[in-house]
Subunit: 283 residues, 2 copies
């Protein structure tokens, strides 16, 4: 069932809760692909009822980013959800979520702000305010749906760590379930933004996963020094790649690592032309 | 019943919710007086079960404020609650609420930040960060207790307006119930900080309510020009008073008024010696 208003969601969830049913939430920006599908499958198998939200959240886009051209494919999204056994698709418009408030500043809207230490690095460095927008909208969705479980992909690993921190810091009664990255056979991590890539650049995009897989293979052979582990990475990069970061950080608190261990995540972000891609791997 | 841990609260409330009972929350910093008692009475009469939280929240105190000397009277608070029919008193320590995180900056803690337009005036001007701390702790308490209703005094009117805005902006499933200011026969609004006043300064403190009552009387006679309404106020002030603000603002969005109407609140704050007092009145 597809609904567009907060009231409809609340009414449906209230009925489920009265029956003692558990509720899973999969928050998305739509343009659903097999990565989202894996989150949905996990929720459908774990929870009595599954809600998928489809909302391209304007306040998590920075000036100059792809808010207007971000892919919107609601009909296909709804079909994927129905086929996957989703019980409710919530697709509000920005006005339903934010009213008539000027939302692009904190002058007139209450924000949920993650800790500076978690956002002053990796994607947070170039996408200023992005995680404020993410935490605020996820907090809103949690309050609207009141799920028992919420499913997030490890593809957006910094987001996942920040949201887990938010849940802990604000005592939010929702359990966050991380879901593994889904990759094409080539190794490319699925992303709605892959649609922006030309066939040629899709090949260039393999550099991300190749770099990460190579680092993991070296780590598995016993190399732990981060400098040594990154040495060969640059050989995968061409003039077409503009590396934003390649960093080793703690899986819980994003502290930087100079020596890798089993609680280390390797994060990479780079641009191919105008398309910004991210990936990561746990060692 | 008095409990100190989040787990105990959650367990108790879960049992109540299973029975379909409604829950009211009265968040306090303790040092309970007849003002708090009126909030408690309202919750007890409106809700099946009432929770009172007693927590002197460090993150809503600014540097140099009275965090350390703020009155702590838990035994008396518990007795007042029991006598009033409260079902659960939740008195956590700071570690239970915030863990071992350094909470005095936003480096390591997720904050809920009210809109700048609502905090850049009145008490927010001198108490920088105060309402960030209030919104964050109230959000936490809402997530811990998950009440149907929460009761706040109109004494802290700017706080009340900011919390209503937070509930709306973040879609929090809690209804905020405002409760009228309780005054001594003299007119003095009850406050835990009145304990800091010498007998002489308690008389000086009557200036606040006298100014407000006088303005309201003039308004009721038909005067609406704010300049005219404030004219006589200064005659109530002596060398002992240090006026911080006397302002006319909209009851919903705190917009400044130059002409008073029925949706106007008159706000006053002043210091008597080291003691900062606030009061307000609706026209």
């Amino acid at each position: 069932m597809l609904v567009h208003t907060i009231d409809e969601v609340r009414e449906q969830v209230r009925n489920w809760k009265k029956q003692g049913l558990t509720v899973g939430l999969v928050p998305t920006m739509g343009a659903l692909h097999a990565g989202h599908k894996s989150l949905i499958d996990k929720s459908v198998s774990k929870c009595d009822k599954t809600v998928v939200s489809v909302f391209v959240n304007p306040i998590q886009f920075c000036p100059g980013e792809d808010l207007d051209k971000y892919p919107r494919t609601l009909d296909a999204d709804e079909k994927l959800c129905t086929d996957a056994g989703v019980d409710l698709v919530f697709a509000p418009n920005p006005k339903e979520m934010y009213g008539d408030v000027n939302i692009m500043s904190n002058d007139f809207l209450t924000y949920v702000i993650p800790p500076f230490f978690y956002v002053n690095k990796l994607c947070g460095k170039s996408r200023v305010g992005h995680f404020d927008g993410v935490c605020t909208v996820v907090n809103k969705l949690f309050n609207i749906v009141q799920p028992d479980f919420a499913f997030f992909g490890e593809k957006d690993r910094q987001q996942l760590i920040i949201l887990k921190k938010m849940v802990k810091d604000l005592n939010i009664p929702v359990e966050i379930i991380p879901c593994p990255i889904v990759r094409e056979d080539s190794g490319l991590a699925l992303s709605s933004r892959n649609k922006y890539l030309s066939p040629e650049d899709k090949v260039n995009a393999l550099a991300l996963s190749k770099i990460l897989f190579n680092i993991k293979a070296c780590y598995n052979k016993g190399i732990t020094d981060v400098e040594a582990l990154t040495e060969t990475a640059y050989s995968y990069l061409t003039e077409r790649h503009s590396l934003e970061y390649l960093e080793f950080r703690d899986a819980d608190d994003l502290e930087e690592k100079t020596v890798a261990d089993d609680n280390t995540i390797v994060f990479i972000a780079l641009k191919i032309g105008d398309v910004r891609l991210i990936d990561n791997i746990a060692l």
